[in-house]
């Protein structure tokens, strides 16, 4: 949600507090203001004129003292709006509720994510990436305001201090930031400012109420799907259900006869119905008689994909890590253990179905959408419309869940193509069925392991070969180098925490025909930590060693991993008795800069029902910004992961996805939710990511617990395919 600019501010002050977030969409009498807000140039230098102080692209202070953070990251539930505001407010020495927010316009130069290289919210990088830039932005503004005040008082800047939106002189005089705006804007921007020492933090590390919550409990919050543009129509769409197929013909006579249906739009691979509201569009779509040209993938099945992958996994892959000499060590091992693991395709199923509202005119294109990659939205719209990128305005809204889905702009590409054929603004909304059947899917992975133990049961040789689609090769081609996808091996190679003398990890790229694969919460580590932590558990069992003790024996050089493992074990009561049918399983991980250990207590009933009863999670994410958000993200990440480990599976038959809605793409409900306990380690290490890591290690904790109580090793997810009734 965004702080609306210009005239709308008056309305804000009337009915709502200034702090209240307002969306850039259309409010009564409002109009779209995003473009207006960003007409001012933003350079490295302070801007003069209009009495606004803008020392950098992130901070703007006005004469009335109002402070705006131009927010580079989007809010999709992860608490970014609050944590980013805390970083600025800490250094600027203002209260958190003094910072208003405005979504950054698409601009990779000014608002690139330092860890990814362009404007993107993803990969659990918001706090790690903006930890320094946003504090520096706030500190720079503070130093300049102090300098402006000191010059007015004719004292040394070092003798003054900033406090609660004011500069205080040695004699105790005070000048508000608003009063200093004009003078500060005339100063040159210092290149090196000193950031506060963590011991002086007053906001960072303390619990802050989320800033986006009040409007999310009374229906006022605006998500992309809530955009309402005067004169708009509503459309829903059906893309060819078979991947890679095309539209052959469509008889729209019945649909066009329905009251309220206005238009049928034909694309190469899809057809959309435009109506007065979503209901008429839906009615119209089901009244169409569509003939598809199924194309080259009509015979693809999950089985054919896995067979292809299994064959591909037999050849050597691109080297991801090699320590010692696995090939030499393995023949000398006293005991050799092999295993194959498989993980399914997954859909995201964010609660807000895919949608995008677009207005294409002769010389402009406006897009109202919640998207994790604003500049890519602009680029695709420019390509589809033929307009230059600067004519494309992206109005970014709250996201009703991202989980990686909104890192792709396929829905925007399609919506713009539809809107090109429609007069006036049109809101394109996918049905849930369309959303599940035309996702970009978490890849299917096929993992081979070979391990060698010596006569003393020490792990001396270890080979892991990852086989699967490369998301990076499609999504960020320059990052795919020499056949290696660093994400596909993330958690298995460089971040693999265990000390083993001979390690070999390689990667084989194998693309499933037709399907597009994409980022899914936890990305590479969600896959690798499951297979690695399961296989390590297998080795513990093979050596008849306690799973915690076995891990500890290889973690002497990993104090932070050991720290979370010991904390989780202590809090979970590792080793204490459990009722019959209940087991405990453990996992450890280093992912997205954060160390986590999870211990799950899982019950397997006599008729094969699997219930996760309790999860204990110890988290060391370095410097904590907003502690309750960390706990919430871990809780939510665990629940997201439990849905996947128990039931999550997209299967393919006849080149199309078999699942349709929440009846056959089952997700966890409140009555199935375990007790979750989260324990945070406090230190001043660099902050790690937190949006995804909770999802990463829950699957192996659950399956290792199943092994502990049943003796059955789960090497293929989801669990539903291997235990009795669902």
């Amino acid at each position: 949600m965004l702080h609306r600019c210009s005239d709308d501010d008056k309305e804000d002050q009337k009915g709502l507090s200034r702090r209240t977030f307002l969306i850039t969409g259309v409010a009564a009498g409002g109009g779209l203001m995003l473009g207006v807000c960003f007409t001012r140039s933003r350079g490295a230098k302070a801007q003069t004129g209009e009495e606004t102080f803008e020392p950098n692209a992130f901070v703007r202070i006005q004469p009335d003292g109002s402070i705006t953070l131009v927010m580079p990251q989007v809010e999709m539930g992860q608490g970014t709006y609050t944590s980013m505001s805390m970083l600025i407010a800490e250094e600027l020495e203002v209260e958190l509720d003094e910072v208003g927010l405005e979504a950054a316009p698409p601009n990779d130069k000014l608002y690139k994510n330092p860890l990814i290289g362009f404007q993107v919210t993803g990969g659990s990088t918001s706090v790690p990436g903006f930890w320094e830039p946003l504090r520096r932005a706030g500190a720079t503004a503070r130093v300049m305001l102090i300098e402006a005040a000191a010059s007015q008082w004719q004292v040394e800047p070092a003798a003054c201090r900033a406090e609660k939106g004011e500069v205080v002189s040695p004699a105790g005089e005070r000048l508000s930031y608003g009063a200093l705006v004009g003078a500060a804007a005339k100063l040159s921007v210092p290149q090196n400012v000193t950031l506060k020492s963590p011991k002086d933090f007053t906001l960072i590390g303390t619990p802050a109420k989320r800033l986006d919550t009040p409007e999310k409990v009374d229906g006022k919050a605006k998500f992309g799907i809530d955009a309402m543009i005067p004169g708009m129509t509503f459309a829903t769409v059906s893309a060819c259900p078979v991947f890679g197929g095309k539209l052959k013909s469509v008889d729209d006579s019945k649909a066009m006869a329905l009251k309220g249906v206005r238009q049928v739009v034909r694309l190469d691979d899809a057809v959309a119905v435009v109506g007065d509201h979503m209901w008429t569009a839906m009615q119209g779509l089901s009244a169409l008689d569509i003939e598809w040209d199924k194309g080259p993938n009509a015979d693809v099945t999950t089985e054919s994909i896995v067979q292809q992958m299994a064959r591909a996994s037999e050849k050597e892959g691109a080297l991801a890590r090699s320590d010692g000499d696995f090939a030499k060590a393995i023949p000398n091992a006293a005991k050799k253990i092999d295993a194959v693991y498989e993980m399914p395709f997954l859909a995201h199923a964010a609660m807000e179905p895919m949608n995008c509202t677009v207005n294409v005119t002769k010389d402009s294109c406006d897009i109202w959408v919640g998207i994790q990659v604003a500049t890519r939205a602009q680029t695709t719209a420019a390509e589809v419309t033929g307009l230059p990128p600067e004519k494309i305005r992206v109005h970014n809204y709250l996201l009703g869940g991202g989980f990686g889905r909104r890192l792709d702009v396929d829905g925007i590409t399609q919506a713009v193509a539809i809107a090109k054929q429609v007069d006036g603004p049109v809101k394109v909304v996918w049905s849930r069925e369309e959303d599940i059947q035309h996702d970009v899917y978490r890849p299917y992975y096929y993992d081979r392991f070979t391990a060698g133990l010596d006569a003393q049961n020490q792990l001396v040789a270890y080979h892991h070969r990852v086989t699967g689609s490369s998301i990076l090769a499609r999504w960020a081609p320059p990052a795919f180098v020499k056949g290696l996808d660093e994400d596909a091996v993330n958690g298995a190679a460089k971040e693999f925490p265990y000390a083993i003398p001979n390690i070999l990890v390689d990667y084989v790229r194998d693309e499933p025909p037709g399907l597009t694969t994409g980022w899914w919460r936890g990305v590479g580590p969600t896959h690798n930590i499951f297979v690695v932590e399961s296989f390590i558990d297998e080795l513990a069992a093979a050596t008849k060693t306690d799973p915690v003790a076995f891990r500890r024996s290889m973690l002497a050089e990993q104090p932070r991993v050991l720290g979370v493992l010991d904390l989780a074990a202590e809090k979970a009561g590792w080793g204490s008795p459990l009722p019959d049918g209940v087991g405990r399983g453990v996992s450890v991980q280093f992912a997205m800069g954060t160390y986590i250990s999870q211990i799950a207590e899982v019950e397997v009933t006599k008729d094969g029902e699997v219930k996760v009863r309790r999860v204990v999670c110890a988290v060391d994410c370095g410097q904590i910004v907003n502690p309750d958000t960390i706990v919430a993200q871990i809780e939510g990440g665990i629940i997201f992961g439990i849905s996947a480990v128990l039931w999550g599976e997209i299967t393919i038959e006849g080149g199309r996805v078999e699942q349709t809605n929440f009846n056959d793409y089952r997700v966890l409900r409140i009555n199935e939710t375990p007790t979750i306990e989260v324990y945070l380690v406090k230190n001043e290490e660099a902050p790690g990511g937190i949006g995804e890591p909770g999802t990463v290690g829950i699957a192996p904790a659950v399956t290792n617990a199943i092994f502990a109580t049943t003796g059955r090793r789960i090497r293929k997810l989801p669990i539903k395919s291997q235990f009795g009734p669902e």
Binding site: G219, H277, A350, V429, N663, R669, I670
Partner: protein, 151 residues
């Protein structure tokens, strides 16, 4: 031309009788707090109250609610149970992305209205029709308990 009473206001609407209430609320009356999630009553995002009882508006034809009192999340704070629930939601910091929360709050307010002191299993039974992909369930449970104990 059905007339609906929504949040105490009468709306005369030119919509087909079989149009689900969800789309009337969102696309015609433009009350967008009620959300579309699945379209087939599997997720609960579209929950509203009809004469105080929670229903899934995505499958309720508009003809079925004529003459009844419809309450949406925009007005639930005006009821004692709704107000308590919203307060607890803020206090416990239930919300993440927030998309499902309108429906969660409507189901929770209805539960509290009919059962001022629900047990854990009564909470589970009343709330299991509402999906949250962000995984706010533990906090939903805690917030309902807190609301049930608040004055």
């Amino acid at each position: 031309m059905p007339t609906l009473t929504i949040n105490g206001q009468e709306h005369e609407l030119d919509v087909p009788d079989d149009m689900p209430l969800l789309w009337v609320l969102r696309d015609v009356v433009r009350l967008t707090g009620t959300k579309f999630g699945c379209g087939v009553a599997l997720c609960g995002a579209c929950t509203v109250h009809v004469d105080g009882r929670p229903i899934r508006s995505c499958i309720a034809p508009v003809s079925s609610v004529v003459g009844k009192k419809i309450t949406t999340v925009e007005a639930i704070g005006d009821t004692p149970s709704g107000e308590k629930i919203q307060r607890a939601w803020l206090d416990i910091e239930v919300v993440q992305c927030g998309y499902c929360q309108s429906g969660q709050i409507m189901s929770a307010a209805a539960l509290l209205e009919s059962n001022p002191s629900p047990t854990d299993s009564e909470i589970d039974a009343a709330m299991s029709g509402n999906i949250c992909r962000c995984g706010t369930y533990p906090r939903i449970r805690a917030a309902i308990k807190q609301a049930s104990q608040s004055g």
